[in-house]
Symmetry: C2
Subunit: 135 residues, 2 copies
């Protein structure tokens, strides 16, 4: 089995001495990024069909202009999203999933389906835990 992490200080140096390669960890490279605050929502929307910038903004009402831009840019950088600019006036920009993005979402979507089916159970567990603690 592979080792999982990527150290920072004293522990870090000890790890590196043992030859571990934490920057190559699949979880840290892929999953951490997909778990950001807005990436899941945007990916879900783009998995349905390509969307304009303003459409995404409207469909995710509480995202700031700054974060929608930045999140889409991160997803583009990692190869999941394609950005296509139509030189109209004013410009129109459409975002869509790339082949890599589609491939990724075929796996990621199982988590969305699980969440859809079980989010109530999670909220229940949360409430029960809080009741125990608070009491």
């Amino acid at each position: 089995m592979d080792q999982i992490s990527s150290p920072t200080s004293a522990r870090l140096r000890a790890m590196q001495a043992e030859g571990l390669d934490l920057d190559n960890c699949p979880v840290r490279t892929v999953i951490s990024r997909l778990g950001s605050k807005w990436a899941p929502l945007l990916l879900q929307l783009l998995s349905e069909r390509p969307h304009r910038f303003s459409e995404l903004r409207r469909l995710v009402p509480d995202i700031s202009q700054r974060m929608i831009t930045q999140t889409l840019r991160d997803l583009e950088r990692d190869g999941y999203v394609h950005r296509s600019v139509l030189p109209t006036k004013p410009p129109s920009v459409t975002y869509s999933l790339t082949g890599l993005g589609i491939s990724m979402f075929e796996s990621y979507r199982f988590v969305f389906e699980w969440a859809e089916a079980n989010h109530r159970a999670v909220r229940s567990a949360r409430a029960a835990f809080d009741a125990r603690e608070g009491g």
Copy 2:
């Protein structure tokens, strides 16, 4: 289709006026939490078998004591993880997945497998993007 978000200020009030229930969003309830920095790593380890606190710490060398405690606590609160204390001396604590946790990971694990198979492609895309930008 359901609406996705959960507003914060002016937009928020506008949304609520339309009757949207952003706090009930499955993505925000479930997926956001699973995407935290350490949760994926700990879940992956616990999906293999139960682990002691110190084992997890050793297997994830760059996690701080504080974050391992807090992340496990969050996962316990949401019903994914069970914490069992053996009253030995000194105490021994074992963490394991609950039924809900096992169920969830049966979906989540596809993402891990995808990451394992494609993290190099993602890193390539990232490098290519940076080359374009930087150049």
